[in-house]
Subunit: 479 residues, 2 copies
């Protein structure tokens, strides 16, 4: 019989089963919806994702992005304007062909991403250098008829995300935008959500369809697979030529704008938050995005009044609930630990007589006994340390996972250990494809790319072809 | 030549042109997207709608609704489960028939509303009376392939809305939910957004497809047409039978649940906010949902430093921006009045020398001169009065618009004046349809329904058939 009380799979031993159990038992999403690859997001994930949206949007607005909302449908002719983009996305497009009983003359795509929606309006909105940099974003659902196997949150057919689309006067400004996007990713994904990652420049054969350069953050799962998180793209001028987006520069000349685009997928980032911080007990939410921050458990009915009084004080600065359910105290303790609530207050009569309180901190997984009068001060102190503790732990796990390798044998060994292999490589342009294919065939892992912030110079030879190594690349398995 | 500087149409004289100008000149939405009936929402509307979402969601959560997010696609077979619902919505459904090159065996509907998505999960989630009332909501985009003429914000093919879906143990509880929904509408739509409305129970021939009883809030446009705002429905047991949603009651018996559903459409409510408060100068936003609350205009460059200092103080409690654009001061004044910013600070050197400040209040459309040291206190005071002033004005306009009528001639006259006609009517059940059709044919107006809070008893005879009047109904033109 299935143990309904808690997570029974071990995260390190059977990650896949652990992840599925967490999704189901913590009620993050119901997987039984009758269209393949689509989830029913439940309150516990929706509440956290709402906060995640808020943090991303605040930072984007502070950096000058203006919120828009574009139609979810895009005419086929828009997608066709840029051939690489069409080729890259058309196998994945959900097509709307009919309204009521009426067949459309032109099919509508359910947006897989919105470049081709935004750009036709950029064509109308951008006139002069005064309009640039033109920085937008939208909060939206996007759709991919994935041909690969879907996985809850990690690869789904409807994705909850943010997409930013910007136009710039020069290539340099576009590149600065890409660097700003990387920094935004650090500010939010790492410093608030506590998810470590490496930003790679993707090799030529793995770029966003239509992009000149693609940079993507890879986060790591305990099974050693990386999962692509936000990516930012130098779309450069392919699209501006296709959509005829010109501006009059200071010198009076008409020029094509340079495009960039950045896409943090909230529902997929949520998966990394769950995966990175969770443990064998269940979820562990960073304080800032926890759906609930404090749970109060009155161990005796006589403590109910005190519970209400504490709730009143705490709710002035944190979200708080009292668990009045019929479960035994032990079950309640386990329940809230599994649900990843940062602080639990166990209200026992013995403590109360001594004017003491027992707090459970999910960051350190330990109980502390405090004086009742110190409660507010203590919660406020914990709230400031909480996410830092989670980040410290996550960073440590991540750091140990990169292994230097000198040949295919060492790469294989590193990948088998669940590490990211680092090595010399001939070329990340199209001519490097054969070597990358050999690596993939022999190890099941992919060349994820190079680092902009790489500190060492490539030494020696390509691990595969023995030609001069022009790059240091990172190799990992992915989903 | 088009005057680009401001609104040239008069709201009362040419409402339709006024509304279009406000949308375009205030940059609420761009109407040039290349799919009919779809808008590109621009920052000025998106920022306000985000706040509108926040207020609705806060109230819903406080009243015990849990946020969910369901797939945007619904299999055709779900829609088919309840025949009235299918009949009502299928002419309006966007159908997805293809993923990439692959034709689907079963068509997917792009959700026109999500009853048939939620209910199949309710079937899995609801087991016992302990689970009830089960109260959910989602923030979502929905799609209607409208056969009627579309109008920006008022009737579009993609709608930004909230939908709540609830299951209850008894009909009484379901009816209490409907009353709660009406109250939520008052709390948010009227008391925060300042939009007056009347909640009508719709006649039998105008119910939500599949509903037992439908209640809908009608707001009023200056051209005398009403626009349907949130509606709440006693779905009752038709759907629970169709989706087999049963619960075990306290008495051990298996019973069908009672459903209710409520749908505030944020993008359409936004239209009523614009229409109700706007004037010949342009927009007028309630303080709480203004995309920007305070605009500072330094009339001389020497005032820039002071502007920055004031901004720093104000941004602690309100959103504020300084207008450094190249326009002349007069143009800037007009611009921010048109954009509906509640408070404008005109920073002139003469005022500053005397330690004075000139504030423009958009609620009263007047300038006030205050002591510099009183600025924060004054803004805080205005922020508390602002929306109340807007509400008072809006309520007054609305109140005068209901006319008692005794025959078709009087109804015609009332409708011609842009009023809502009130009269005795035979029946709001199916047998009243012929009389309603006569009214519609002769006046172009519809029977909007009866009021739950009607104070008088129906007297006399039906205005059309002269049979006994069983109801007092309200008649108005709509979109």
């Amino acid at each position: 019989m299935k143990n309904k009380q808690g997570i029974t799979a071990k995260k390190e031993e059977n990650f896949s089963e652990w992840f599925t159990q967490v999704i189901q038992k913590c009620e993050l999403a119901d997987l039984r919806y009758n269209v393949k690859g689509f989830l029913v997001f439940q309150p516990w994930s929706v509440l956290a994702m709402e906060k995640m949206y808020k943090y991303f949007e605040e930072v984007l607005q502070r950096k000058g992005h203006k919120p828009h909302y574009f139609p979810a449908v895009i005419p086929e002719s828009n997608l066709k304007k840029e051939s690489e983009h069409l080729k890259g996305f058309s196998p994945d497009v959900f097509w709307i062909t009919q309204g009521g009983n009426k067949k459309f003359e032109e099919k509508l795509a359910l947006r897989p991403t919105s470049e081709t929606a935004f750009y036709q309006m950029f064509n109308l909105w951008i006139r002069s250098y005064n309009d640039l940099s033109f920085k937008t974003y939208q909060r939206a659902n996007v759709f991919r008829h994935e041909t690969k196997a879907t996985r809850p949150f990690l690869r789904t057919r409807e994705i909850l995300w943010i997409e930013t689309h910007c136009a710039h006067a020069t290539q340099e400004k576009a590149f600065n935008q890409v660097k700003e996007d990387m920094n935004t990713t650090k500010e939010v994904l790492h410093d608030i959500f506590g998810v470590p990652f490496i930003f790679f420049e993707r090799p030529a054969w793995d770029k966003f369809p239509g992009a000149h350069r693609t940079f993507a953050a890879d986060a790591l799962n305990p099974d050693g697979r990386v999962i692509q998180q936000p990516s930012t793209h130098m779309i450069a001028q392919k699209f501006s030529k296709a959509f005829d987006i010109k501006f009059q520069d200071k010198d009076g000349e008409e020029k094509d704008v340079y495009m960039t685009t950045y896409g943090p997928a909230i529902s997929r980032i949520f998966a990394s938050v769950v995966i990175v911080h969770g443990d064998d007990k269940g979820l562990k939410f960073p304080w800032e995005i926890a759906p609930l921050q404090v749970a109060i458990i009155p161990i005796d009915k006589k403590a109910n009044k005190k519970a209400e009084a504490l709730k009143k004080e705490i709710q002035k600065f944190a979200s708080v609930e009292i668990d009045y359910s019929d479960k035994r105290p032990g079950e309640k303790f386990n329940h809230w630990e599994m649900k990843g609530v940062p602080i639990r207050i166990d209200l026992g009569l013995k403590d109360l007589e001594k004017k003491k309180l027992t707090l459970y901190r999910r960051d350190l997984d330990k109980k502390i006994l405090i004086n009742e009068k110190d409660l507010i001060k203590t919660i406020q102190k914990i709230s400031k340390e909480f996410t830092k503790n989670l980040i410290k732990k996550a960073d440590k796990v991540f750091e140990g996972r990169i292994k230097d390798t000198k040949n295919i044998k060492e790469i294989k060994a590193a990948i088998k250990q669940g590490a990211i292999a680092r090595c010399g490589f001939c070329s990340v342009e199209k001519d490097g494809t054969p070597c990358a294919e050999i690596i993939e065939k022999q190890t099941g892992a992919e060349v994820r790319g190079t680092r902009l912030d790489e500190k060492s110079k490539p030494l020696g030879k390509c691990v595969i072809c023995n030609k001069k190594a022009n790059h240091i690349v990172y190799i990992a398995r992915s989903y």
